[in-house]
Symmetry: none
Subunit: 438 residues, 2 copies
């Protein structure tokens, strides 16, 4: 999803209110773990873009008491409560009844909604049954949120200065209602502060190692009202800087200044940035773009990663412009026959060695006639380790026409994690190798 800041009217907004939101999802299917709650994620992202702080998320079952308790709790925390789910026409969906009881408002027939519900069925050549006619009833006094993709209308009500917005749980219905009605209405009726995030993407250092290096820098962030979050993921750590205030340019300037200071501390490990509202670029995307810019190509020899790095490159549209192919020589015979690794190596230093990955890289380069070749050989585990060569030992080599460089790593015991860590380390080494070329 790409969300961009240019959606905002960039003007000096006075921070007249600090709106707090709660997201409440209703449905037994969430509580038994049958569906993943993606509605909350999406709503949180949208609100975040508007500068509305989400202070709480909750999920409760299709149960009147549970819903009312959640409403009561939300009123004390939030100015706006976003509710999804439980609006279907079937008996187990009780949100609307609970909602109207909560506001002491009786359900009345809304002729506009009835028209929409009817046309929905007529378009599909069906009759509006009594059950679906019920959908046109809404609590008296509520602002009706049109549902362009379904029959259940949304409802917007206010109690004790807290706005309650109830929408269906079907993601594409809810999203359309938010985009077309709810978010524009919120923007129009409120003067909202700005939130600004920027995330620094790092590879090759653990969370705690980074924390020790950047400790002083981190301690000084509070003075600038910037919050830092460590987000570890597959051998990478993302560092998110977040700030809130009335002037977007000041926020950006403050964050950018801090990122310059941070870069001086861990420059070698930063491979990219996630800009506010954009998807984080992956290492494979960054390497692919580098190659595309230089009109260069890559080929791989993957032993312990077994095709995983190739699959990362080829998952990107247009991969064929930069990716010539890969060989996964999973046996010593294959390493020898397909990539001419000398057999004596297997008897001396073994397949997991500097010499082996160097020969793999150099010969892959020739075989595919690519500009760069990357090779990996290691012991992914869980078995196959020895005292001298433990599980997690990995050699990586990168070659171009001029040279070949090899790197040694020792990761952990978990096979899948070793594969992922090897891939991210290899891609980051490749990135740095390419950048050093004239």
């Amino acid at each position: 999803m790409v969300l961009i800041f240019s959606n905002f009217t960039i003007k000096d907004t006075v921070l007249r209110n600090n709106m707090k939101a709660e997201i409440l999802t209703i449905g037994d299917e969430i509580l038994i773990g049958q569906i993943t709650n993606t509605n909350s994620v999406w709503i949180a992202q949208e609100l975040n873009m508007l500068g509305i702080t989400v202070v709480h998320m909750a999920s409760v079952s299709d149960d009147e008491t549970a819903i009312v308790n959640a409403f009561d709790a939300a009123i004390n925390r939030a100015n706006i409560v976003f509710i999804t789910g439980g609006l279907g026409p079937t008996k187990d969906d009780i949100t609307k009844k609970t909602f109207s009881n909560y506001f002491n408002a009786k359900l009345i027939l809304d002729e506009n909604v009835l028209k929409i519900v009817s046309s929905f069925f007529i378009k599909r050549g069906r009759e509006v049954g009594e059950i679906n006619r019920q959908q046109a009833f809404v609590p008296e006094g509520c602002f009706v949120i049109p549902n362009p993709n379904g029959t259940a209308p949304g409802m917007w009500m206010k109690k004790n200065d807290t706005v309650f917005i109830s929408m269906p749980g079907v993601p594409y219905e809810m999203k359309a209602m938010m985009a077309e009605t709810v978010l524009p209405k919120l923007k129009k009726e409120n003067t909202l502060p700005f939130i600004y995030h920027k995330t620094v993407l790092t590879q090759g250092m653990g969370e705690s190692a980074i924390a020790e290096i950047i400790e002083d820098w981190e301690n000084n962030l509070a003075a600038k009202k910037i919050k830092l979050a460590y987000l570890p993921q597959s051998g990478m750590v993302r560092l998110r800087l977040s700030t809130i205030g009335p002037d977007l340019n000041t926020l950006k300037k403050n964050v950018d200044e801090e990122i310059i200071k941070l870069s001086a501390l861990i420059e070698n490990h930063i491979f990219g940035y996630e800009n506010y509202g954009e998807e984080a670029p992956t290492l494979q995307k960054i390497v692919s773009d580098l190659l595309r810019d230089k009109k260069q190509t890559i080929a791989l020899a993957e032993s312990c990663t077994g095709g995983y790095i190739a699959s990362l490159f080829t998952s990107i549209p247009g991969a064929s412009e930069i990716f010539k192919g890969a060989i996964v020589p999973y046996t010593n015979t294959a390493k020898h026959e397909l990539l001419q690794v000398e057999q004596k190596l297997f008897l001396t230093v073994g397949a997991v060695s500097k010499e082996c990955v160097e020969q793999l890289a150099v010969n892959t380069l020739k075989k595919f006639n690519s500009d760069y070749a990357l090779s990996v050989s290691g012991i992914a585990g869980p078995s196959g380790g020895t005292a001298e060569k433990p599980v997690g030992l990995v050699w990586i080599a990168i070659a171009n026409k001029e040279k070949v460089q090899a790197f040694k790593f020792i990761f952990g015991d978990n096979r899948q994690r070793n594969i992922v860590m090897t891939a991210s380390s290899a891609l980051n080494l490749l990135r740095k190798f390419i950048l050093k070329q004239p």
Copy 2:
């Protein structure tokens, strides 16, 4: 299709213990919508299998007041509170401090945890820094939950008859702690009703096509108090049968009888079963096990899947026993030079053709001297399609020493989905091919 356990006749069961659980996830990254809360889904599924009802889920930020308020609310609703997140060694993680304050327990050094934390670093040839030493401190009186995949220990404390279980937010750390310590301890200490699930794994037919074929069978399930859920995923559909009751053997017998009837209806599409409490076997695992049993091997030539199928095979421990390797010939030149596809093919029928995948499979078999070879060539998209060969067109071939068979598919226009669908189709074809051999 919604599976609702509260609709089960829990009254019929010998329910000596109706445990209620709450799941609380802590972290700013959830509230700004940066990550999807998959921990709650996973925990809910596990508890559901134990017969523990999840009554509430909540997410709060890394803020002491918010966390304490969430603890207070949970105590009134639940017998067990599962908490994930906020246990990292960095400053933004405040769960442990809040946790120990909440129980009026001071943090004390746990020598066992320190040993584990230290060995974690020593194994990687690194020193334990002060920050990581902090991880070995736990609230006095807590039961320590070992973390086999990381350094932050879990904590199990009790207040007012409610158990609080705090675990890290990193999914693979939390899952291992749940599986190895938390769930066994819960089962041991409580008398829980039996829930029984069995899931039928199918490939090659869509959800609605299956629903039509099995309609009568499905309608008869209610009489046996069995619920059916359709769980579509990556070109496969899992059919989960669930039932709850006081006698496990009766539950198993009822479900197994129904599965026999189901198999008669869609046998050709069933590739395996997920047994209760076990992880679903993947197609790659089933094929790998078949090969291992027969002491046979496989090699691949992957064009449009770009190494993805190889990565599926090699993600399984012990892959080297059955997997000889793969070639990813992403260009026509590579197809010709590495796997001797005749160049005239590219000028006539093209690389996405029966002839091409057949040559790829036959020559891969020779190159790797394997018992089987699998090849794929297709147009993954989003570009590269023509009227005659649209995006989503894929050819798959399987060869052994006796014969080669080719299969044509037309999937959709989503690149990632085409890659995944190609892989699952190829693996299922391979499974059936192997089973037909004498």
